[in-house]
């Protein structure tokens, strides 16, 4: 079974993909930047900002941060608390 990255989706992005999570084949994805590029290439994915926030293990991650199938990964729309 090929490894997959599970990406949690919220708010606008959950609506965009009609799902609470994406299962993405991990092959060729080393970093947050790679992951974002793959997501933006999905149908409807162009609406995800190239600078979208990604959290890895509950912490906001930079583009060059590593991601692996063992991590809890989340794609965060622009924050709007308060």
């Amino acid at each position: 079974m090929p490894a997959v990255l599970t990406v949690r989706l919220f708010a606008r992005y959950a609506d965009l993909f009609g799902a609470d999570r994406l299962e993405i084949p991990a092959e060729g994805i080393e970093t947050v930047r790679d992951l974002l590029a793959r997501i933006r290439a999905l149908p409807g994915g162009a609406a995800v900002a190239a600078t979208a926030l990604v959290a890895v293990n509950l912490t906001q991650a930079r583009g060059d941060a590593a991601v692996s199938p063992r991590d809890e990964v989340a794609l965060l729309p622009p924050l709007a608390g308060g």
Binding site: R8, F10, A11, D15, A55, T59, L76, L79, A80, G82
Partner: protein, 150 residues
């Protein structure tokens, strides 16, 4: 206490948590659901969060404020369906004097807005709904500002 809750927020509860005989200055902030936003009539707001991350960041922000100033902080954000006038967020800070209390209260609400993964979908009077995007509003305000004569 968890910082995220689906129950009504009561500032009195927060004040009780932080009160102590040596703390004479208490600053607090409440964010309420307004009846309008960007010129549209608002009926209610649904708040949601990436809950484990939001909890952990709220706790981090409280800890940062308490390390930086000699204060005790209580912070609560509500999730779920809110109507106009409901309290969405409450911050209360008690310290020996008012300077620290005001500074820490301001810090907590600004950091919450900047860092905590919470989202809101507004329900408008015309029946439509929309996710709120503060980054887009900031951009359009800048563009409008540039074009105006004010």
């Amino acid at each position: 206490m968890p910082h995220l809750t689906r129950a009504r927020l009561d500032l009195g509860d927060l004040l009780c948590e932080i009160a102590a005989p040596e703390r004479g200055g208490v600053a607090s902030f409440l964010g309420l659901v307004r009846d309008h936003h960007e010129g549209r009539g608002v009926q209610g707001i649904e708040y949601s969060a990436y809950e484990p991350m939001a909890e952990s960041l709220c706790e981090a922000i409280v800890t940062e404020a308490q390390a930086r100033w000699p204060v005790r902080v209580a912070l609560r954000h509500r999730l779920g369906e809110l109507v106009v006038g409901d309290t969405a967020v409450a911050v209360a800070v008690a310290g020996p004097h008012r300077d620290e209390a005001f500074a820490a209260c301001r810090y907590v609400i600004e950091e919450l807005k900047r860092r905590v993964p919470i989202w809101k979908r507004e329900r408008y009077a015309d029946g439509t709904e929309q996710w709120v995007d503060p980054t887009r509003e900031a951009r359009s305000e800048r563009v409008e500002g540039r074009g105006s004569l004010r």
